[in-house]
């Protein structure tokens, strides 16, 4: 491993502490599952988990007891159905109660952008008339000082730790990702500390039409974890494991089958 790189367990041990606000981002693509599993193995507790689309990755972390709060905009198993562990935590407090703070995608995306921009809040049009603002005190209104228009205001997102998975790093620890890149750049820039797992280390990057490069000096730790986004995918490296997303539904449905699966596949 090149100098400056760390192992994933070192990265998690160094940067993720009990009670932290932690974001693992990746919009269907490049979801940092390996990092989530390491957080579970290290037994982190009382985390505020932030993610636009908490899918299986947060179902696992919530079911494993890592989280006391969830900040999100869409929570489900895409194309399959519900997140049973998330539902059990919300409805039955198992394995512990889960507080929810809920936004729309646009609001979360703008929160990330404001966080990365060093602004205290973001404005957007759109949430007027929905029930979201009745259940989330952080969705407020602001008057435009130029036009007088009433706009929605939401606070900037600046988690303690932001974690993403990318395709490549070069030997200097610069990171490149491509394909659907979601809010991952904003996640790294907005977070106080950041961890990036990558598929591989290359001598130099190939320019790509929608490639996103994050310079090494804006990332705290890079760890090489091939396949670290499975069962999601890494464009040009792996395909989404759709069969696993379907298989997760019966695994997560019952506490016992969930615990057995986690013991066998994450804790072991």
């Amino acid at each position: 491993m090149p100098a400056g790189f760390v192992t994933l367990d070192d990265a998690i041990a160094t940067h993720v502490h009990d009670g932290d606000e932690v974001a693992l981002e990746g919009f269907t693509h490049l979801i940092p599952f390996a990092a989530a599993h390491e957080i579970i193995r290290q037994g982190r507790r009382d985390l505020t988990l932030v993610r636009m689309t908490p899918d299986i990755v947060y179902d696992q972390m919530i079911g494993a007891g890592c989280a006391s709060k969830l900040v999100f905009s869409w929570g489900g198993n895409p194309g399959v159905g519900s997140l049973h562990r998330m539902r059990d935590a919300v409805q039955n407090g198992w394995p512990q109660p889960l507080e929810m703070e809920e936004y729309s995608h646009a609001a979360m995306a703008m929160r990330w952008q404001a966080g990365a921009s060093g602004l205290p809040f973001a404005t957007l049009r759109g949430s007027a008339g929905t029930s979201l603002e009745h259940h989330n005190d952080n969705i407020r209104t602001v008057t435009c000082p130029f036009t007088g228009e009433q706009l929605t205001a939401v606070p900037a997102l600046n988690p303690d730790v932001g974690i993403i998975h990318a395709q490549q790093s070069d030997r200097d620890g610069n990171v490149m990702m491509w394909g659907i890149t979601g809010v991952q750049k904003e996640c790294v820039l907005a977070s106080t500390r950041s961890i990036v797992t990558v598929e591989e280390v290359v001598e130099s990057f190939t320019p790509r039409s929608n490639g996103v490069v994050l310079p090494s000096w804006c990332i705290d730790s890079v760890a090489v974890v091939p396949g670290g986004s499975h069962p999601s995918y890494a464009h040009d490296y792996s395909d989404r494991d759709n069969a696993f997303y379907s298989a997760w539904d019966p695994i997560a449905r019952e506490r016992d089958s969930f615990n057995e699966w986690m013991e066998a596949h994450v804790m072991a």
């Binding site: 919009f27 269907t28 869409w74 929570g75 519900s82 029930s131 890149t181």
Partner: protein, 255 residues
């Protein structure tokens, strides 16, 4: 009521719904596509009468041309042949909020008479009967697209008198409520179900049954609606799926 006589081809009510939803998308439209039924219909339209439709997915794919139906909103098949891939903040800020999308194509768990949608929770928010995934991209899609087309299956659990949670605003409390809320797009213009098609009244914006699918009676639609349904004076009968429409749909779904 008149009905066109077509060769007898067996089809399901879901297939009728999907074909009718696809027909609603004109060629050349820039369409923001929700996953599930809307995505199937939009991809069917692109393979039939609307090859120049620009399909936009919230994961950042503009001009997606998936060879198979995506399982999720950010599948690799959406990115593979897209005209351009953008970040999610750019998608919502520049393209959606910027007013560059003609049609938003949405599904929902529940709808009310003014085409407001619930995808968040059934029952009490803090102690729900059913916790649904949540709003996702829908509130701003419903707010900012030029118009919104909704597709979902008819039934009294879906077509309800009162939503437990308004995830996305259609026509609000009716009339001009939508524009008073400052929402820029026209809002829902059609709701396409497995039984028929509803459109908002030109004044009150209350959903009105304007057509029933073949072999569906108006009373059947009334019974499947959880409020006293308004019915147009002259209810049309939807043209059944053509053999070509069915063939393309079935190949799309089996790929």
């Amino acid at each position: 009521m008149t009905q066109l006589v077509e060769p007898v081809v067996e089809y399901t009510s879901d297939e009728m719904m999907t074909v009718q939803a696809a027909r609603a998308l004109a060629n050349g439209t820039v369409c923001f596509v929700g996953i599930g039924l809307p995505s199937t219909a939009a991809n069917l339209a692109r393979r039939l009468h609307a090859p120049e439709c620009v399909l936009v997915y919230e994961s950042g794919c503009i001009g997606a041309k998936p060879e198979v139906l995506p399982k999720s909103i950010g599948d690799g098949v959406l990115a593979e042949h897209a005209d351009v891939l953008v970040s999610v903040p750019e998608m919502f800020a520049y393209w959606l909020q910027g007013g560059r999308i003609d049609v938003g194509f949405l599904g929902a768990a529940q709808i009310d008479r003014f085409a407001n949608l619930n995808t968040t929770v059934i029952g009490d928010y803090d102690n729900p009967t059913v916790r649904l995934p949540g709003a996702g991209g829908a509130p701003e899609i419903a707010a900012n697209c030029g118009e919104v087309i909704i597709t979902l299956r008819h039934g009294t659990k879906a077509f309800v008198e009162r939503l437990d949670f308004v995830s996305s605003v259609g026509h609000g409390e009716g009339g001009d409520h939508r524009s008073r809320l400052g929402l820029r797009g026209r809002g829902p213009t059609a709701v396409i179900t497995d039984l028929g098609v509803l459109r908002p009244d030109t004044v009150t914006n209350e959903l009105t049954l304007v057509s029933v699918h073949p072999d569906v009676g108006v009373d059947q639609v009334r019974d499947a609606t959880g409020w006293a349904l308004r019915v147009a004076d002259d209810v049309e009968v939807t043209a059944p799926p053509t053999p070509v429409e069915l063939d393309v749909l079935r190949r799309l779904q089996s790929a």
